[in-house]
Amino acid sequence: MVTYIIRRILMGILVLILVSLVVFFALRLLPGDPALIYVSGQSGGQGVTEERLQEVRKEFGLDKPIPVQYWNWVKGVVTGDLGTSIRYQQDVGKLFAQRFPVTLILGFFSVIVSTILGIFFGLVAAIRRGGWIDTLVTFLSYIGLTIPVFLLAFVLIYVLGFKLHWLPIVGWTPPWKDFGMSVKQSIMPVICLATIPLAVTARQMRSSVLEVNNMDYIRTAWSKGLRERVIVTRHILKNSLIPVVTMVGIGVGIIFGGAVIEETIFGIAGVGQLLATSVFARDYVVIQGGALVIATIIVVVNIIVDISYGGLDPRIRYE
């Protein structure tokens, strides 16, 4: 088990190094001169002169050899220096410090909601296979998988906001400032974020339970005369959770992706919105930092998931 954990962590570190390379080289190997992007982004297309470009290159160390540039960049990243935003003319680390908590709070609740409900609905659907609950869950999970986040947001805003006036349609307040308001403002964003992972988890759980249900050892359990409830909770549940746990890692990715759209629609000042507006402004420093931080979070979550996987499955534990 210890070897397994260490190997998993080392693999995660390797992937993180590769992630940093991707982020770094995305800007340098692809067509488009970062200095040009920088200058034109800063001045809105005017004042692009060769002197200005040289100046910028020198300022950001872009005139140095690529490995040196990478090394300097990594050194900066490790010490928390993600560079200066072109658009905001502000330290990117500081920008993130304001916005990540918002995204993480909403994301955290979305993960909790989607995981718990997804496992529950998937389990119920599989156990009552072919019944009306199963049909309903299956159909709703299809809807959840295929509905664009913005369509869901439109429907929610139109019905709950414009027509019923139950919930505010824009903005977000932290819970420590105004708890009631915060809850109200969180409902629609969390629904938008949680829908896809919920559908994914429910489907995975359903098929996983159905598969476990076909296993020989479940037949053995029935042959002992156990009641159905015991068979489900003792014999089926743990086994079917094993593949579902990996979905949590994927769900976190989906939620960060969804946050870009959800925060734009609801006018929430989180990382997603920051990234969306930065792309528009070609503020690559912010995008670079954002992509790096989000990828890091996802890698770390996946490491944790894989380790807990070992806890669920004794076959891995003793490998």
Partner: protein, 298 residues
């Protein structure tokens, strides 16, 4: 030499011949939602091909005098804030959706299949390098990776295809690698070595055809997912640039009039959902129809 020694009657009959194709179609169309999906996709393709014939108006021409009109017999779905006919724009949007969908999937699937086949068949270092690279790409949410690439490359249909293509390659690679590994375990691959076939021949002629089936299913569902992702990028204003008719940007443009003219954003958003839903249905139907557990059972 020969026959004389075979005393048992020769086996002339195999199992009654059931056409693979017929059985495939039968299972595929068993579910009504698959029929629905195929119907929707057929309509989509026809609409995209015959867009100029179906649309009554120029989708790009502004007509400020007739902006934000409600649906009528002239404008079936009304007009947008620039006075453009919503229905005509929807029809042309089908072209964009299919172009991005097929372009991205073709690019990503071909690359993914090759990488996955190599990783799975050769194993060892090739596998380690390819799969760690894929893990790396998988660490980014699809939209975030696309944002990163679009930020560098700029918006536009080609760049969207490249960005989404790169973001979706790992899915194909992993799937292909997995199926290749399991196909490689089969004795018929060992049999190829035993009769003296070279690796390349075995890989292309025996592993590839047996490992590709799940990729076909993935391609179908990914067509939907990619169209959805393109819509999301266009919605953010960084995919297909206006005035190009993309459903995502139409939905986004209509958002500011949501309270008064909900159809402006609902219509394109529903079109996206319908198409994505259809691709998912057909993908699921294909998976059932191709399922090796069902095949050869009877």
């Amino acid at each position: 030499m020969s026959e004389v020694f075979v005393m048992d009657a020769p086996e002339t009959v195999a199992a009654p011949r059931v056409s693979e194709w017929k059985r495939f179609l039968k299972i595929l169309f068993q579910r009504k939602l698959v029929v629905f999906g195929v119907f929707v996709l057929l309509c989509l393709v026809l609409v995209a091909i015959f867009a100029p014939l179906i649309a009554q108006y120029d989708p790009y021409k502004n007509d400020m005098a007739h902006s934000l009109q409600s649906p009528s017999s002239q404008h079936w779905l009304g007009t947008d804030n620039l006075g453009r006919d919503v229905f005509s724009r929807l029809v042309y949007g089908a072209r964009t959706a299919l172009e991005v969908g097929f372009g991205t999937v073709a690019f990503a699937a071909i690359l993914g299949v090759i990488l996955g086949l190599l990783a799975g068949f050769l194993g060892g270092w090739t596998n380690a390098i390819i799969m760690r690279a894929m893990d790396t790409l998988m660490a980014f949410p699809m939209i975030v990776l696309a944002l990163l690439l679009v930020a560098v490359l700029g918006a536009g249909i080609q760049n969207v295809i490249i960005a989404l293509g790169v973001a979706t390659v790992p899915g194909y690679t992993r799937l292909m690698c997995g199926t290749t590994l399991s196909v490689r375990e089969n004795e018929y691959i060992l049999a190829q070595r035993a009769i003296g076939a070279k690796s390349l021949r075995t890989m292309v002629r025996h592993v590839l055809p047996n490992a590709i089936q799940p990729v076909i299913v993935l391609v179908t569902t990914m067509l939907g997912n990619v169209i959805l992702a393109e819509a999301s990028l266009s919605f953010l204003g960084i995919g297909i640039k206006p005035p190009g008719a993309a459903w995502g940007s139409m939905a986004s443009a209509g958002f500011r009039d949501l309270g008064t003219h909900p159809l402006l954003s609902f219509a394109p958003a529903l079109a996206i959902m319908l198409v994505v839903f259809a691709f998912n249905m057909v993908g699921d139907g294909l998976r059932d129809a191709l399922d090796p557990k069902l095949r050869g059972k009877l």
